[in-house]
């Protein structure tokens, strides 16, 4: 089966063809089309002329304060979200691999929110934040809870983190569970006998053993955090408003939503394409850097 470089059996091409074909037609070609459109005045309306405009869309994007703001707030969200999701997921993984009686039930429960789509989930949580928690806050006389958290730009960002964590932690948990279960029990037992306490065993033995799982989980949460759209749109729709560089703008509008609004609310489709190209390049660079450093970390550990 092993082939030397440059020699590929017919089966190689035959087996690869269906996946590569659909991949090329659905992603690669539209992707290049999208890049091409970002240099034109394309409107997506069939029947209109498409004219080459050079870098005009990109110049407009770089002068767009809302885009800069979205960029920064997305980075802030991604950093917080990556940490929170992974810490929670890892904690869940420890919990459901322990000796707890109902651990199977917990495992299923933690995974369940992952079954529901982001739009639907966003509405449910909007309802919880705006209606249920405020009603609860009013009934216990807490002024802090009686005002919706979504009305404050800082708490609104954290609210998105809460919802996204609720949705994703169960899935990331599975990856950690797998890594923990495949860690050699003998090693941990030995450390236990040597008198290492729980935290020491966790830090020095278990965490290094599951390092590859961290790489995968961090990559997945990084990409998902940056691409976050559904929950953002359905939960806060970008709100509340705030000031940034002397402009009033939506303070929790992440990149994907900003692009969506550029294309659909402002009807600047080509500018939206330019933004998504910039978005893509940034994400690629960040993901590469992240994977590179994680791989190095893995070896060091």
């Amino acid at each position: 089966m092993k082939h030397k470089s440059g020699k590929h059996s017919p089966i190689f091409y035959a087996f690869l063809f269906p996946a590569l074909f659909s991949f090329a037609f659905v992603i690669v070609i539209p992707f290049f089309l999208g890049i091409y459109y970002s240099f034109t005045d394309w409107t997506a309306m069939t029947g209109t002329n498409v004219n080459w405009v050079g870098f005009a869309n990109y110049t407009a994007v770089f002068n767009d304060v809302t885009f800069l703001h979205s960029f920064l707030v997305t980075v802030a969200f991604a950093v917080i979200n990556i940490v929170v999701v992974n810490v929670v997921a890892f904690g869940f993984a420890l919990l459901v691999t322990s000796k707890l009686k109902l651990k199977n039930m917990y495992r299923a429960a933690f995974f369940m929110p992952n079954l529901i789509g982001g739009i639907i989930l966003g509405y449910i949580w909007q309802f919880i934040f705006n209606n249920a928690i405020t009603a609860f806050g009013a009934s216990i006389g807490s002024e802090f809870l009686a005002t919706s958290l979504l009305a404050n730009r800082f708490w609104a960002l954290l609210a998105i983190v809460v919802v996204v964590t609720w949705q994703n932690a169960g899935y990331i948990m599975m990856i950690y569970v797998a890594a923990i279960q495949s860690a050699p029990a003998a090693l941990l037992e030995a450390a236990h006998i040597d008198g290492a306490n729980y935290w020491q065993r966790l830090r020095h033995i278990l965490v290094p053993l599951v390092a590859p799982a961290f790489t995968v989980s961090l990559f997945l949460t990084l990409v998902r955090s940056f691409q976050q759209f559904d929950v953002n749109m359905a939960l806060t729709a970008g709100g509340p408003s705030g000031m940034f560089m002397d402009r009033a703008l939506p303070t929790t509008e992440f990149l994907a939503l900003n692009i969506f609004n550029t294309a659909f609310a402002f009807r600047e489709l080509a500018q939206g394409q330019a933004k998504s190209v910039i978005f893509f390049i940034t994400l690629t660079v960040i993901a590469l850097v992240q994977v590179y450093f994680n791989k190095r970390k893995e070896i060091e550990m």
């Binding site: 070609i29 509340p240 408003s241």
Partner: protein
């Protein structure tokens, strides 16, 4: 590695080969030139037509009317409705890019018109029989391009019973001082009247269609002749009338201060309607489209409109206009049947009944005698019958400007983060960016 590069290059070439010809292969030369068949609208119609509707609420009524039309004339009418969370413009653009050319679709204002015109999709409706029966047709450069779907209107809605009990004569509420006085009177009697706030208003993130568009329209048209476009023209040139804008900002600041803070900032539309519908507020900042919701909820107290009179002088009128127009698609196959269908809707008793009784709209045509069932719709009908109306200019602002640029500024004032003077400054700066 070379092969990969080769493969990628091949894909790029393929892509470019396809896009190189994305130009307009078949744009109809000039839509005005196509306009010779308005005379014989009742002859030779056949086949089927498709109508795109952007109000899911009237889907059932429109389908019934389409069936009636098919039984009568043998032309099948496919109804295609978008609504709710489905954003209309991209849904329509997706339809067009997918090669569908519905005979009739809806446009919501100048931006839609320009994009439809540029892609060769607007059919000239000048001279259609119904044009003389309305004043709300969409006109551009002296030609008619849109059939008004309905009339809509808004003012400051009020609960008749509550205002009576507070001893306020609503006919005097035509300038800002009178309105302020009324607000203060009612505010002082809140406990007695069982109110949580004076006004029901929502200005949060999902409500910028109310603040950035409807509310801002007061600045654009209050007190002006129906065809007076001075303020909107200034805006499109990047300028504001500072004095007028200041009055406007102070009026809205007042509305916000007399609102329930939680409804105002995060409550949303349901909460806003709920507060007013359950008698917890005396006023509401909404249009007549809320009638069906109140009907569903069984809200049956008496209500009416007073003007959003933000100026010191009297401005007795509410804002009435057509929110959307049907456009006949010049690139569609069955234009004759589409023209006939619209004409039938505007001129037949069945069409009138559909528009008013079944879809609950305020009719845009003089000849319609039905009276809408909803109380706010009736109020719009009355104000408009007396000719006390101001125009809708909010849809002539650039796409996204009202909801996405102005909306956040309103929200900041609602949250108390900025005062009216700061509001004026931010709006002035935002408007300045419009200048061509």
């Amino acid at each position: 590695m070379k092969k990969v590069l080769l493969a990628m290059a091949l894909l790029v070439v393929m892509t470019l080969a396809f896009t190189a010809c994305t130009g307009n292969e078949d744009t109809p030369a000039d839509t005005a030139a196509n306009n010779q068949n308005q005379a014989d609208t009742s002859t030779d119609i056949s086949g089927e037509i498709t109508i795109v509707n952007n109000k899911i609420e009237i889907d059932a009524a429109l389908r019934d009317f389409a069936r009636l039309y098919e039984d009568r004339f043998g032309v099948r009418v496919n109804v295609h409705s978008f609504g709710g969370e489905t954003p209309y413009a991209p849904a329509l653009a997706a339809m067009f890019s997918g090669g569908d050319e519905p005979e009739i679709f809806v446009m919501e204002g100048m931006t839609d018109f320009i994009s439809a015109r540029d892609s060769g999709r607007v059919f000239d409706l000048t001279g259609q029989p119904w044009v003389n029966d309305t004043s709300m047709e969409f006109v551009y450069d002296g030609r008619v391009y849109g059939f008004p779907v309905a009339l809509e209107g808004w003012g400051l809605g009020y609960n008749v019973d509550i205002l009576n009990r507070a001893g306020i004569d609503t006919s005097t509420l035509t300038n800002v001082n009178a309105i302020r006085e009324a607000f203060e009177t009612i505010d002082a009697m809140r406990d007695e009247l069982g109110l949580t706030a004076v006004v029901s208003m929502a200005a949060g993130p999902g409500m910028t269609w109310v603040t950035g568009l409807h509310a801002f329209n007061a600045y654009l048209s209050l007190g002006l002749d129906y065809n007076d476009t001075t303020i909107i023209d200034m805006l499109l040139a990047g300028q504001v009338d500072e004095q007028r804008l200041m009055y406007f900002a102070e009026y809205y600041n007042m509305i916000f201060q007399f609102s329930n803070p939680s409804t105002l900032i995060v409550g949303g539309y349901d909460q806003q309607l709920g507060d007013f519908g359950t008698g917890q507020t005396a006023f509401i900042h909404q249009g007549n489209w809320i009638d069906p919701t109140f009907a569903e909820w069984g809200v049956d107290f008496e209500m009416g409109y007073v003007p959003h009179a933000f100026l010191p002088q009297d401005t007795p009128g509410i804002f009435v206009g057509a929110p959307s127009w049907y456009v006949v698609n010049a690139r569609a196959n069955n234009i004759d049947a589409a023209l006939h269908f619209l004409n039938f809707m505007a001129s037949s008793p069945e069409g009138h009944e559909y528009m008013v009784v079944h879809s609950g709209a305020v009719p845009a045509f003089y000849s319609v005698t039905h009276i809408p069932a909803g109380q706010f719709s009736q109020a719009v009908n009355e104000w408009s019958g007396r000719g006390q109306v101001y125009a809708w200019h909010q849809n002539d602002m650039p796409a996204g400007f009202g909801m996405n640029t102005l909306g956040p500024i309103f929200e900041l004032m609602a949250a108390g983060s900025i005062d009216p003077a700061e509001f004026v400054r931010l709006v002035t700066e935002a408007v300045a960016t419009i200048a061509p």
